[in-house]
Symmetry: C5
Subunit: 374 residues, 5 copies
Amino acid sequence: MNGVKRLRFKKHKRAGQVGDRPGMIRIAEDALKPIISAYSYNKDELVTCEGRDIKAVLKQLDKCDNHTHWIKINGLGDAGLIEQIGEHCQINSLVLEDIANTHQRPKFDEYDDYAFCTSRIVYFNHDNEIINCQFSAIIKNNIIISFEEDHNENRFEAVKARLKAGKGSIRTDGPGYMCYALTDTIIDNYFVLLAEIGDHLDALEDKLYQSADKSIMFNAQQLKRTLIVVRRASWPERDKINDMIRSESPLVTPEVKLYLRDAYDHCIQAMDLIENYKEVTSSIIDLYLSMVSNRMNEIMKVLTIISVIFIPLTFIAGIYGMNFSRQDDKGHIIADNMPELYWHHGYIYAIVFMLLIAVIQVFVFWKKGWFNRL
Amino acid sequence: MNGVKRLRFKKHKRAGQVGDRPGMIRIAEDALKPIISAYSYNKDELVTCEGRDIKAVLKQLDKCDNHTHWIKINGLGDAGLIEQIGEHCQINSLVLEDIANTHQRPKFDEYDDYAFCTSRIVYFNHDNEIINCQFSAIIKNNIIISFEEDHNENRFEAVKARLKAGKGSIRTDGPGYMCYALTDTIIDNYFVLLAEIGDHLDALEDKLYQSADKSIMFNAQQLKRTLIVVRRASWPERDKINDMIRSESPLVTPEVKLYLRDAYDHCIQAMDLIENYKEVTSSIIDLYLSMVSNRMNEIMKVLTIISVIFIPLTFIAGIYGMNFSRQDDKGHIIADNMPELYWHHGYIYAIVFMLLIAVIQVFVFWKKGWFNRL
Amino acid sequence: MNGVKRLRFKKHKRAGQVGDRPGMIRIAEDALKPIISAYSYNKDELVTCEGRDIKAVLKQLDKCDNHTHWIKINGLGDAGLIEQIGEHCQINSLVLEDIANTHQRPKFDEYDDYAFCTSRIVYFNHDNEIINCQFSAIIKNNIIISFEEDHNENRFEAVKARLKAGKGSIRTDGPGYMCYALTDTIIDNYFVLLAEIGDHLDALEDKLYQSADKSIMFNAQQLKRTLIVVRRASWPERDKINDMIRSESPLVTPEVKLYLRDAYDHCIQAMDLIENYKEVTSSIIDLYLSMVSNRMNEIMKVLTIISVIFIPLTFIAGIYGMNFSRQDDKGHIIADNMPELYWHHGYIYAIVFMLLIAVIQVFVFWKKGWFNRL
Amino acid sequence: MNGVKRLRFKKHKRAGQVGDRPGMIRIAEDALKPIISAYSYNKDELVTCEGRDIKAVLKQLDKCDNHTHWIKINGLGDAGLIEQIGEHCQINSLVLEDIANTHQRPKFDEYDDYAFCTSRIVYFNHDNEIINCQFSAIIKNNIIISFEEDHNENRFEAVKARLKAGKGSIRTDGPGYMCYALTDTIIDNYFVLLAEIGDHLDALEDKLYQSADKSIMFNAQQLKRTLIVVRRASWPERDKINDMIRSESPLVTPEVKLYLRDAYDHCIQAMDLIENYKEVTSSIIDLYLSMVSNRMNEIMKVLTIISVIFIPLTFIAGIYGMNFSRQDDKGHIIADNMPELYWHHGYIYAIVFMLLIAVIQVFVFWKKGWFNRL
Amino acid sequence: MNGVKRLRFKKHKRAGQVGDRPGMIRIAEDALKPIISAYSYNKDELVTCEGRDIKAVLKQLDKCDNHTHWIKINGLGDAGLIEQIGEHCQINSLVLEDIANTHQRPKFDEYDDYAFCTSRIVYFNHDNEIINCQFSAIIKNNIIISFEEDHNENRFEAVKARLKAGKGSIRTDGPGYMCYALTDTIIDNYFVLLAEIGDHLDALEDKLYQSADKSIMFNAQQLKRTLIVVRRASWPERDKINDMIRSESPLVTPEVKLYLRDAYDHCIQAMDLIENYKEVTSSIIDLYLSMVSNRMNEIMKVLTIISVIFIPLTFIAGIYGMNFSRQDDKGHIIADNMPELYWHHGYIYAIVFMLLIAVIQVFVFWKKGWFNRL
């Protein structure tokens, strides 16, 4: 469970500055250099091209003119690249700004002859930190250009594999289907993330029942915040898919809409699961607080009962430690004040008296049910 | 009340994997082997066929061509079986995927010449664990194929009995009516479950008034979560029934819609009851927390009052235990320092003085109302 | 205030069983035997007939053919009676089932030539228990048949009186008006109930300011739950009245709709009042919890301050109770160790020193504001 | 701050009785006798008439036939008066009932040739009690009759002044404008009330930072409830104004609608302010509870640390107060048991040892940061 | 973190008085004297004029008749100025009232040939106090007049710079675009503010993990309230932009609508961020309360355990401090009562016995896990 780290919330500094001309592309300082892969495919053929040079890719576009092209860009650290693509495909500069400014909510915007969509990719990285980065895609005619903020190249491995295998509709259904396939993979990854969160919650709950300590509170709060991050990613995702389904653009074919309905269901299932986990997290926090309070109360109760039992005994011992005395003429002490002190077996009587008081106290407290667990 | 076990939330691992081709049927590892029952009925006749062999069933379908068929499948552990059915009835592979992936929310989807609906079955099993499994049904022409995730064969016993008896509309109103009958039975079972939860709540409340211990908190939280499970099952169920009522498919006849309106009312009653029980549960938790706090306060108050009464007395005893003395030339102690010690009956005076102080304290505390229950 | 009893929530066991044929009338075990009253009235005449025999009533219906008939049935313990009425008026069996199964939410359903509506009757009975029973009515042509779950025959006394007096529209405006009159009376009774709850809340608040004890918490929680019961009755009631207003059935005449708008306003006023009382209840609970906590803190603070004042004093007394001594050759004690013990007036000095310490402590605590009420 | 009195919530007893004939006017027992003022004005002239006699007013109506008339009635204690007005203007008896039954929510109802609207007037009276009384108005043709539940005649002083001055649209824009002017004044008064509440909140917050005592909790709860009262008045007021703006009645001219849009904005501003103050109140309560808890914790911590420091010291003093001794033949005590008692400077050593222990304890506690404020 | 000051909520005294004639301009007492800047620009030219004299500006308007004019007014302390502008542009007096009464919510109102919009400007001033002032703008034909409540002239520096540079659409797209540019700058400034709040939250959280003290509670509450202020500014801002996008006024050209869609997205991002920060703030408060409670519990537990260990020891010391004795004829004490006192090494035995008891206690408490952190 110690795996859950403190979730530092990214400062959400928008790369742009106050008063910037709309459509101005500003690259964040820590943006990664782009890596480009291009896949040109039709029913019969799959041409692949990887590298960092956009020109080679654009050349391939021109060459394979009866193919569908998927250009996959990881890393947004090069404003020139984005502008070049924008120019080549005649994309509005506001869209290019949205690609570079990685704080977009999931949305689907239609333009004259192309469409633009964004999603949030959320996952735990190797340091168990939560990463919330942006996926965006431009869909046009026979081309889809996808942008990911990070360098994780394995994310769409399964899509690439299906592309290579050439089975299913992936080779034949155009860029709309590819957009669906990528979106669906992103949503599927939410379930992977939620399964991890579920494991964490399970571990937390085990710990709660075994050895509750205050890390539970911290971890539960961190999970709660992580869930909020996923939720903020998946709620607008649902609206986005809905927009795609109701779109009248020729880029989203009726066949793709059928698949999107499926993705829509998955998205709702993810949201359901998130709400469920949020309630579980709250319940864990409530139980933890109640347990801590109970344990503390239990300890204080026992300690206080021990104190209270000894207090009257100590008082009695104190009484017989008093130096009251009466002396006769010769300075001898006369058993006149505190005669008990001079009795045969007075000491035994005193001890027995004390024991009696202790027993009575224990009996009374037990009778009142104070030894029961609360 | 000890019957309510810790509710481990199922990991909700979707059988599918990230990037799977849409429509791919993946069977969960712990899925049960299917048991098949087929009922072919018309106004005059009821032909039954049970077993594990789908071929015998399909043969019966061909044979009884002026019958309505209800094929009931318990257990989803055989991908081949689902594919065979899909092929025979020409069902979209996305639907088949939804049958196998048992995390669907209740929904009603219409296709060209068939419809598909899902529900959640929620019940306590013999170990008092909450089970949340999937019911799905394909409705077509003159056939309804229902899938249940588990092997509980008694669930629809009453429906079978009505089928055997042949009374009412069940034999004549086609697969739409059968779909209603099964859905209504599932909703009726929510009331059975809710009655059990109501009993648990009643027992919890009795315990609250008699001997509140911390199991109340745990049990109440478990019941709360169980209620959330039922709620997540019944809310979309209502929408699903509404979709069926507003459907224009010929599979849902106007007569069936009248019955569905009835089922809709039942579903809303169940939701009402769930909300009611949720409020009761919250109220029990609030009362419990308040009671624990009150009891603890009561104990601490009494103990502290006892301590405080004895503390000044012990102090006085301590004073007369001091060894102040003045000696004359002969080393005899002179009653000059602490003359009280040498008074006649000094001891008695001291005891009386202590008693007096104790009485005054008790009086003051009583006057301030500190002995009253808070 | 002790009048508010523990509100046991009725088990809400639906009389029907899982898988029952729809439209099957099942009578709850504790249902009361029906008492029947029939009022046949037109502008000039009012014929009354009371008893337990439905046949006499049906005969009267045939006889008075230009009258409007109000048949009032108290108690639902006779399935045969309901079926007879259903047959006579040609009522759908699903409606009859809803009459017998007394867990309907308020609703207004229109059928071909009749309408069916239900309401919840909520009141405190003589044992101050909250009763939540069902009112339902079938409206047809020139007849209204009302069903009440209990035997309280005074509920509609004012309506009967107006009927006898023959003033206003009641004699002339048909069964729709009568339905309005009964519904309005039920809503008026919510105000009676709410006035009682308001009195309870007022008493609770008085008690809060005078002598808060833990019964406040219990009573406030009970009132909260009672308010939830009324709320669950009145919210759908509003929708029901709205449905009636928007209905196009000839049974609800434009004139009656005008009155219904009035009833609608009353219903919203009741809901407003309920929300108001709920907020007051929450505020009472919050204040109570804060007061208990304050009082407890106050007590503990005073007690602890007393303890702390005496602890150093007792320590000093303990020091001078130590037996350090030095003896000379003759075994006489030499004032070498602990010479204070042998000083003139050493005892007085010690007492004064103790007093001084006590005074300093009191001064410091007072200076820090610890004697102020929190 | 002591100005905020306990907010007794009016019993909301509706004057009517269960089962009353609709439209029956029942006057509340504590209703005030009506005072009547009538203002007949046109562009050139303003005729005023005040008193308690409705007949004089009705005569004036007939006399000034090309004037607009504003009849202002303070106090609803005379059913006859209301009936007379109702008869003269041919008002539906349900409307008259709503005027007398002063628990209406703000609403705007249109009838054939007149309209009826109500508002809530909320203010602190001279005893700082919150008063929530009803304003209602009948608008017809060239007449507006306004009813106020109380006798406060200064409320609309500014409106009267503008009427006398004769500037602006007030003289020329008919009864619709007058209705707007009165409503706007009522809303303006919400801001006066909210400013008072804001002052109270400010004072409460000052007190919180200076000398928090438990009156803060009570006062904050009272303010919260007051805010709820204003909120319940202003929310439906907004809907009412919206209804007026969308009304197609000729009584609300387009020019008046423009002004109503302005009043609508004011109403939303008031609602905004109310929500704001509610959040501030909650924040004050949270801070107060946290502060009380902190202060109490601080006190208990200091007291407990003092106790713990002295407890081991008292124990050591107790040890050297033990009477262990060994006697030689002559009855002299031999320094064999507890030789420390017979050491040179043994006493000094003991004192130093105690001091050492105290210092170590203080050091350890300080090191652990227990002297820091929490 | 000490930078966050107590957020005194402005009294929100509306400048107007109860019953004011609608459209009356009342200037708040503390309103600042206006500073006027005018920018007249077209594709080729930019004429600037600054000062306090509105006449010079109006003259410029007449002179540059094929320009677009932006008149920027900082400070609303001159009713005459507002009236002059209103007269010159023929603006409704209600609009002028809204400009002067600086409590408007963001809104966009269309009139015959002009439009009026307001926004809230929210920022921390140099004293780290939150300022919430009003921005309003009248858009007409070829003129936009913007009003700011304060004197901060750097706010729109970037817009002025773009105007001077003459790039982009700013010079050519008319007053609608300028209105967009100003609104977008205001929204961009929300992100600056939110970044500051994010820094504060980060600092608070660091403090929480390092040295939690009660300033956290105060600061978190202040941040919460600040967030509420921003939220109340940005929520209606979104609606306002939406109104602008859906407006059919020629003042908002389709090109500007495209940019407004972008601003709409930014506004939603800001709202998202606000909700996020609110949740973080709540989580910090929850964690803080839990930590304080845990720390206090830890301290009290340790202190109480120390007390309880010493209490029985002190009791034993008390026992052997009792003066039980028996004397023989010669007044010698006989080891008959309390013989332990006269044993060889009795003292050592007693000390060892005490140590034993202490060790047993420590062992038992450790075994029970009471030394573990809760």
